[in-house]
């Protein structure tokens, strides 16, 4: 059964089965758990997720390996438990994209999202000891 929600981009129709559940929310948005994945109208590496619970909240995401070939985040046991997956299950790292007023896009590689397709669950993790920053400019 399709559902529709009003967002700040207009009305969006979605299948509840496709909801990605952020079991802990995102950092600073701990109360928002359910998001739907929105394809980009144009082809390209960017897509976005829309909160089902708050029409104002949406994030642009990308697979960071489009830009940083060796970027890799492997979930530890605790993170796998939160995602509901085992050691051999697939898990993708995605970066939140920030579009500042000057439109010089940055990727948050310090706090990527881990997404498990098997369970449709996601979490945001913090890589405290990594060389990556919250505002990593796209490589030129």
């Amino acid at each position: 059964m399709k559902q529709t929600i009003m967002t700040r981009f207009g009305e969006v129709e979605f299948d509840p089965q496709n909801i990605v559940r952020f079991v802990e929310g995102l950092i600073g948005f701990e109360n928002l758990h359910d998001f739907i994945v929105m394809p980009n109208r144009k082809n390209g590496p960017l897509f976005w997720i829309q909160s089902v619970e708050d029409p104002d909240i949406a994030f642009v995401l990308t697979d960071p390996t489009n830009f940083f070939l060796d970027y890799k985040v492997v979930p530890d046991g605790r993170e796998r438990d939160k995602l509901g997956i085992g050691k051999d299950d697939e898990c993708h790292a995605l970066a939140v994209v920030t579009v500042p007023p000057d439109r010089k896009v940055t990727l948050n590689l310090m706090a990527p999202l881990l997404f498990a397709p098997a369970t449709n669950r996601a979490i945001q993790v913090v890589l405290e000891n990594s060389p990556y920053k919250t505002r990593e400019p796209l490589p030129v």
Binding site: F9, E24, L26, I27, G28, F29, N40, R41, K42, N43, G44, P45, L46, W48, D56, I57, A58, F59, V60, R78, D81, K82, V96, V97, T98, V99, P100, R103, V105, N108, M110, A111, Q124, V126, E128, T134, R135
Partner: protein, 79 residues
């Protein structure tokens, strides 16, 4: 805010499952030990604040931005 004075080696218990121990002062810093359930998220305040801010900023964008960026990226790739 509850303010307590503790000596090195002394601790604080919060609820049933969080224990904070003040280990030592080291230069201008204070080393503390935290025992908490494995699933509890523990962050340094400034790291947490930075990611909160970044997430909040990242939620402010519009479809025109996305279109413009996508066009720019696709164009770059096809060069």
């Amino acid at each position: 805010m509850l303010v307590l004075t503790r000596k090195p080696g002394e601790g604080i218990v919060i609820g049933d499952d969080i224990k904070i121990t003040f280990i030592e002062t080291k230069g201008a810093g204070i080393r503390i030990g935290i025992e908490a359930p494995a699933g509890k998220k523990i962050y340094r305040q400034e790291v947490y604040d930075r990611i909160c801010l970044e997430n909040r900023e990242a939620s402010q964008w519009n479809l025109a931005d996305l279109d413009m960026l996508t066009s720019a990226m696709v164009k770059k790739e096809s060069l």
